[in-house]
C-alpha cells in the first residue's frame, strides 16, 4: 500500500500532504481570534474551595495544580471518563506509531497513523479540556509540526536530486546511508511517511481545536 503511495505515486502524495497543510492553514486564518480579555477570570483553589477573581491576565496562576480556571460553561469532571482515557491514550499513540512504522510491509502508512495520533490528542481534549491538550502541545508547536511534515517530504525529494537522481528517487540515498541497496527504497518511503504522518496529525488537531472553540482556544466542547 505504502509502496504505491510513496513511490509509484510519490508526487501525488506529496501534493496531497500540501493540500492538508493548506487546509490547516486556512482554518487558522479563518477562525483564529486574538482578542485580549479585559474583565479578568475566576479561579478556584481546589483544596479550600475559595474562588478568587484575577483582573490582570499576567498574574494568573499558571502551572499551579491547586488552582482551576472557571469557564462560562463549566462541566464537572467525570472520574470514569478521565481514568479510562488516561489509560487508553498511550496505547492509541503506540498503535498509531506502529501503523506508521509498519506501513511499508502491511496495510498502514502515514495518513492512517497520523489520523490515529491526532485522534488520541482530540480524545484528550474532549475527555479533559482543551487547555490540558494545549498545554501538552502548544499552538506554536502544532503550527511548526504542520510545516515540518511537508518539509521532511520535499526535503527527502530534494536530497535525491542533490545525489544526482530524480526527485523522490529513493535509490540514490544509498550513497549516503550505509544500508543494503535493496532496503533503501523502503527506508526512503518510511521517512516520507513519517513526514506525512506528522502533518496529518498536526492538521487534525488544529482543525479540531479551532472549530470546537471558534478560534478562541479557551474552552472546547
Amino acid at each position: 500500500m505504502t509502496a504505491v503511495l510513496a513511490d509509484y505515486r510519490g508526487y501525488d502524495t506529496m501534493f496531497e500532504t500540501v493540500v492538508i497543510f493548506a487546509a490547516g492553514l486556512a482554518c487558522i486564518l479563518l477562525l483564529r481570534t486574538y482578542i485580549q480579555r479585559t474583565r479578568g477570570r475566576e479561579y478556584r483553589h481546589i483544596p479550600t474551595g475559595i474562588i478568587i477573581h484575577i483582573q490582570d491576565p499576567n498574574k494568573a496562576p499558571k502551572g499551579l495544580r491547586e488552582f482551576e480556571l472557571i469557564d462560562n460553561i463549566w462541566v464537572p469532571h467525570d472520574l470514569i471518563i478521565k481514568t479510562v482515557c488516561r489509560i487508553l491514550i498511550p496505547f492509541i499513540q503506540i498503535f498509531s506509531l506502529y501503523v506508521v512504522m509498519h506501513g511499508d510491509f502491511s496495510p498502514g502508512g502515514g495518513f492512517q497513523g497520523g489520523v490515529i495520533f491526532g485522534a488520541s490528542l482530540i480524545l484528550l481534549a474532549i475527555s479533559f479540556d482543551l487547555r490540558t491538550a494545549l498545554q501538552l502541545v502548544s499552538e506554536k508547536t502544532l503550527g511548526m509540526l504542520c510545516a515540518l511534515g511537508v518539509v521532511i517530504y520535499s526535503g527527502i525529494g530534494c536530497l535525491c536530486i542533490m545525489l544526482s537522481g530524480n526527485f523522490l528517487d529513493y535509490g540514490t540515498l544509498s550513497q549516503i546511508l550505509p544500508v543494503d541497496p535493496n532496503h533503501i527504497r523502503a527506508l526512503g518511503m518510511l521517512g516520507v511517511e513519517i513526514g506525512v504522518g506528522i502533518t496529518v496529525m498536526a492538521v487534525m488537531v488544529v482543525l479540531y481545536i479551532n472549530i470546537a472553540s471558534e478560534g478562541r482556544h479557551h474552552q472546547g466542547l
Binding site: M1, V4, L5, R9, D12, T13, E16, V19, I20, A23, G24, A26, C27, L30, L31, F105, S106, P107, G109, F111, Q112, V115, V200, V203, M204, L207, N210, I211, E214, G215
Partner: protein
C-alpha cells in the same frame, strides 16, 4: 436487449453508487441548512470512494499482500496478478478520504464564521440579512 438488461443487473453496485451520489447532490442543491449541505457533500464523496474501491475488486482475489511473502520463498513462486485485488484505487481513495476530511474542516470553519456573523445557518435567512445590511 436482454444483453443490455443483463449488463445493468450485473453491475448493480455501480447503480447503487449513482443513486447515493444523486442523494448527495440533491442534498447539496436543495437543502436550506448549511450543515445539511455539508452532509450531502460527504455523501457524494463517499459514493465516489465506494465506486473507486469496487473498481479494484476482483472475484476470488485476496488482499494485495503476497501470500507467504513473509515466509521468504515468495521469490520462487510465480505471482498471478489475478489472485490479488488491485491496490491502486484503494490508495487513491485513501488520500481522497484524508483530503475530504481537510475540505470538511475548512467548510466547517467557514460555517462557524457565517454563524458568528449572521447568527443563523439557514440559507434564506442569511440571504435576507445580507439584503438588510
Amino acid at each position: 436487449m436482454p444483453d443490455l438488461l443483463n449488463e445493468i443487473v450485473h453491475k448493480y453496485n455501480y447503480w447503487l453508487y449513482i443513486i447515493l451520489m444523486m442523494i448527495g447532490l440533491y442534498a447539496m442543491i436543495s437543502k436550506n441548512n448549511l450543515i445539511k449541505k455539508l452532509v450531502g457533500m460527504n455523501i457524494f464523496q463517499t459514493a465516489i470512494i465506494l465506486f473507486f474501491i469496487s473498481i479494484g475488486y476482483k472475484e476470488d482475489a485476496t488482499i494485495p499482500i503476497i501470500v507467504s511473502g513473509h515466509g521468504g520463498d515468495a521469490a520462487h513462486q510465480a505471482i498471478q496478478a489475478a489472485n490479488y485485488i488491485n491496490p491502486l484505487p484503494h490508495v487513491l481513495m485513501l488520500t481522497a478520504i484524508v483530503v475530504s476530511v481537510a475540505t470538511l474542516g475548512v467548510a466547517l470553519a467557514l460555517v462557524v464564521m457565517i454563524y458568528q456573523r449572521y447568527q443563523t445557518l439557514e440559507e434564506d435567512e442569511i440571504r435576507m440579512r445580507v439584503k438588510q445590511l
